[in-house]
Symmetry: C2
């Protein structure tokens, strides 16, 4: 198995004596480890998943898992990669957030609901959320990935105040929406089509991302 | 222990020979069972909690638990009673939903956040949500209680279209908000005061409860 060969010295930089093709061998091994990790995190939960178990499922040495991904926490974060569909559309969404058009909310909600509906992207998302619900550490990583990758750039581009609060309000709303539609399967949400649901939810997300929020009080009252 | 005496024939109707004071004895026993059930559902999860374990914790016969509460599902539903503070304010909230004042969203969000913040009501709510997250059946009961008791009357009073969708969108948003603030403890939500957070979230809840929603398409597209 090619994946057990000693890995390159530092990340993707290769020594000159490295045989041709090893890069794609590493890529395949890395993908196999990631797939095994996603499966285990989703079925056994985060807490019960070990690097050793992931290595066994991927048929590689545990040291190789550590080499490619670092700690279990890092490995989980790596499995929470966003689907290409989303990352490809993100620049366009971000540029939309820069002007005040009432369209960013609609586009992000439609894209998000579409991703959940497509099995190729929806199943990994559901696995992530289920894992996140079962373990506070996993939830923390999930939150960081989602907010930094999607909502952070959107809010930064909008240049509005209170970016952290905006991001968090939009994120908790969107995750709650997907939980209701795809994990709890609540009929009013499962029976609504994507376009209809998008039209209902977009104003709220638009409000959080780019709308006027009341300023925080001078002395924060708890 | 008075609670183990044979229970009345049908619910709260008593035979004439029933000793005076047995009603309050029943009440105390019932309360003790409920308290034990809340504790076990919250710590052991719904799936791992049995009627027998609840009976043992409350120091009563399992048959008495069945007599008072029916099945485990019914018992869980009974533990998910809303705090008195909320039910007392509900009629006023509902009458507010009948007019179109932009105040229902603000009042329901503030009351909801206040309940989560007070230990006496917040801890049971957190236990319910944690239990709901750990078990689909528990989640279903939790959802039914919350939507029927709080949001259902609000939306019904508003007389708006698509009540089920409105209720579900508001409920998933509110539950997600409390999860973010009180279970995941996300800093932008924990650092915001109740008044500030209420002012941020109220427009979205108002939108879902009484605002104009786009009509569903004639032939629902999935």
């Amino acid at each position: 198995m090619t994946g057990t060969e000693p890995a390159a010295r530092s990340g993707s930089r290769r020594g000159p004596g490295r045989p041709a093709g090893s890069r794609s061998g590493d890529t395949a091994t890395r993908a196999r480890i990631l797939e095994a990790a996603r499966e285990l995190f989703a079925t056994r939960t985060y807490g019960a998943t070990t690097i050793r178990a992931v290595a066994a499922a991927a048929d590689v040495n545990p040291a190789l898992v550590h080499h490619f991904f670092g700690t279990k926490r890092d490995l989980f974060a790596a499995t929470v990669q966003l689907p290409e569909e989303l990352t490809a559309q993100l620049p366009e969404l971000v540029s939309g957030a820069a002007d005040s058009a009432d369209d960013v909310g609609r586009r992000i909600v439609r894209l998000y609901l579409t991703m959940w509906q497509e099995p190729a992207t929806g199943h990994p998302l559901a696995a992530m959320v289920r894992t996140g619900m079962s373990d506070p550490e996993a939830a923390d990583i999930l939150k960081q990935v989602l907010t930094r990758t999607i909502l952070g750039p959107l809010v930064a581009a909008s240049g509005r105040d209170q970016p952290g609060l905006r991001i968090t309000l939009a994120a908790t709303h969107l995750v709650g929406l997907a939980m209701g539609r795809h994990i709890l399967a609540l009929p009013p949400l499962t029976e609504a089509g994507i376009e209809h649901l998008t039209a209902c939810v977009a104003p709220a997300i638009q409000h959080y991302l780019t709308g006027p929020l009341p300023p925080p009080p001078e002395a924060p009252a708890r």
